[in-house]
């Protein structure tokens, strides 16, 4: 609400006749009724918590009482860098980002190229490939923790078959992360596929037809016409992949809860476990600040350097 006021006031002062006109034709009333709900909600529950997080990160605080009083400066951040589990979770988050870029997006694009044309069978595949994306993360996690349960799942088939000892991939330090990555790709590639399908369908048919008449092989058409024309879609896809992967949490909890021995935490599951659950508001907020800075630096430079270029 305050924003609407501060921004309308100077304009009104310098141009009194426009203000009177705005009052008469109902513009001012509309602005004063229609904008404040959105601005207030956004400011109170999105903008201020982010600022408060930065403020809390300088304190040692349990979250109770009047407010934070025990100022510790940058000690929370120093403790983060010394906590090997934090470094591990930071690293894991980067691994998820990397897999999203190197496996998820290419798989989504490959599937889009195979089924973007409008036909009955393609509609079926499109629906099926998109199903994982609409399932709740928690349900997906439970389903896959059954599939990889050592007593029931796929691994037990192999181990019983060969008469080996039972293997529990999700409780295994070597295998837990690869299983998480597999589920992660399974869950989200359909999202990217949909973006690419929409982009492919908007490429004019005559362009591809002309290339075919000129003797272009299907592979050449894909390589030199379709993929270059997908560039704007790739720009969007990469943005969502990175921002989404940085916040990965829901899948981790039902599958590993960050275990075994804290080897599969992401930034957010670390924040939840070591900040929120243990009621360390200051320490947890400093993790939030790290996450915010990483996302902000990425989003800002991406918009500045990549998205701008795409527009030219």
């Amino acid at each position: 609400m305050s924003l609407a006021h501060t921004h309308t006031a100077p304009a009104a002062a310098s141009r009194p006749s426009r203000l009177r006109k705005a009052m008469r034709d109902g513009r001012l009333t509309t602005i004063l009724f229609f904008l404040p709900p959105a601005l207030m909600l956004f400011t109170l529950f999105v903008f201020m918590p982010l600022l408060e997080g930065a403020w809390y990160s300088g304190f040692k605080w349990s979250g109770y009482g009047e407010g934070p009083t025990d100022w510790v400066g940058s000690r929370n951040f120093e403790r983060l860098t010394k906590h090997s589990t934090f470094m591990r979770s930071f690293n894991n988050t980067l691994v998820f980002v990397g897999v999203a870029l190197l496996l998820q997006i290419p798989l989504g694009m490959a599937m889009a190229l195979l089924i973007y044309r409008k036909s009955k069978s393609n509609t079926f595949f499109r629906l099926v490939f998109f199903v994982p994306f609409i399932l709740a993360e928690v349900a997906t996690g439970l389903i896959w923790s059954f599939i990889f349960d050592g007593d029931y799942g796929v691994t037990s088939i192999f181990t019983t078959w060969f008469g080996w000892e039972q293997v529990y991939p999700l409780a295994d330090r070597t295998w837990a992360m690869p299983v998480l990555l597999l589920v992660f790709v399974w869950k989200y590639f359909g999202f990217h596929m949909m973006i690419f399908i929409a982009a492919l369908q908007s490429i004019p048919d005559d362009l591809i037809e002309a290339a075919r008449i000129d003797g272009g092989t299907p592979w050449q058409i894909t390589r030199y016409i379709q993929i270059p024309m997908l560039k704007p879609a790739i720009v969007v896809s990469v943005f969502f992949a990175v921002v989404g992967s940085l916040q990965l949490f829901d899948l981790i909890i039902p599958l590993t809860r960050g275990g075994p021995s804290n080897t599969t935490h992401t930034l957010v599951s670390y924040l939840y476990n070591f900040g929120l659950v243990r009621q360390k508001v200051g320490f947890g907020s400093s993790v939030g600040v790290v996450l915010f800075i990483v996302s902000f630096v990425f989003a800002f430079s991406y918009r500045r350097f990549v998205m701008r270029q795409g527009e030219k």
Partner: protein
């Protein structure tokens, strides 16, 4: 062309493999709910030897299950309703009025698209607690609305900007005010975008886990993803019951998806490619 058949065959094989990779865990889940423990251990993925209905039945008569679904439905519905109203009102203002600083205010709201929601959960929890909303549906609804505003306002504004200007001018000449124009012209003409935004917000809320996890704690109030993990905690080794629970909880989402897929796809592509 001899290569045509070969190419076509590879394509079909690849598509079949991916289809299998997606449907296999899902079918194992549905079928698992019909199996006894013993059957599940020796035959985890294929059809049950005997079809047992009691595990599904046990969940369908469990009042907790229905309460979880009801809580989720209430939270998702109210979140969607408020988001659509608040965001479309803001978007209407941005679309119809250029005033000093209006683009800055719009840009301020759009910052919400870049902010990772998870970065602010601890201060958000404290804020909600100070408002006395912890362990109430509103403690989930209000932050969800706030975090959905950026995306929704952007989609609404893009759509409103495309509506014909002449209509508005004609209505103005006839003495129609802004509020009435918004109610009797803009909203009725915008049903496709309302459906898209509503579907997205609804699905996001329905599947949301982190926010309810932080805000809700009594078993009276929790939503279905929390209820599902609680159920799993109780029957930790009885996978047949857990799988039946997962199947029944996912059923509404699948039905909804099949009915609303048009809007989900539109929201993805329209919001993503244009934004």
């Amino acid at each position: 062309m001899p290569t045509f058949g070969w190419r076509q065959a590879t394509r079909i094989i690849v598509l079949m493999l991916v289809t299998f990779a997606i449907l296999f865990p899902l079918s194992a889940t549905v079928l698992g709910g019909f199996k006894t423990q013993g059957d599940l251990t020796t035959n985890p993925f294929l059809f049950p030897r005997n079809w047992h209905l009691e595990f599904y039945h046990g969940i369908l008569v469990d009042p907790d299950f229905w309460r979880y679904l009801w809580n989720s439905l209430f939270i998702s519905f109210v979140t969607t309703l408020i988001t659509v109203i608040v965001a479309s009102m803001a978007a209407f203002t941005f679309s119809h009025m250029r005033f000093f600083g209006s683009e800055y205010i719009f840009g301020y709201l759009l910052m919400g698209l870049m902010f990772p929601f998870a970065a602010a959960i601890i201060p958000l929890f404290i804020k909600v607690r100070d408002f006395g909303l912890v362990d109430t549906p509103w403690g989930v609804i209000v932050p969800q609305v706030a975090f959905g505003l950026a995306f929704s306002t952007l989609l609404f504004r893009t759509f409103f900007d495309e509506l014909p200007r002449e209509l508005f001018e004609a209505a103005r000449v006839d003495g129609c005010g802004y509020a009435r124009f918004y109610l009797s012209f803009t909203l009725p003409l915008s049903t496709p975008i309302i459906a898209t935004v509503a579907t997205f917000i609804f699905v996001g809320s329905w599947n949301n886990y982190l926010l309810p996890l932080i805000m809700l704690n009594s078993s009276e109030n929790i939503t279905w993803p929390l209820g599902m993990l609680q159920f799993q905690g109780e029957y930790i080794v009885e996978w047949n019951k857990i799988l039946a629970f997962v199947t029944l909880s996912l059923a509404p989402a699948i039905v909804f998806f099949l009915a609303a897929q048009k809007y989900i796809v539109a929201g993805l592509t329209g919001g993503a490619v244009k934004g």
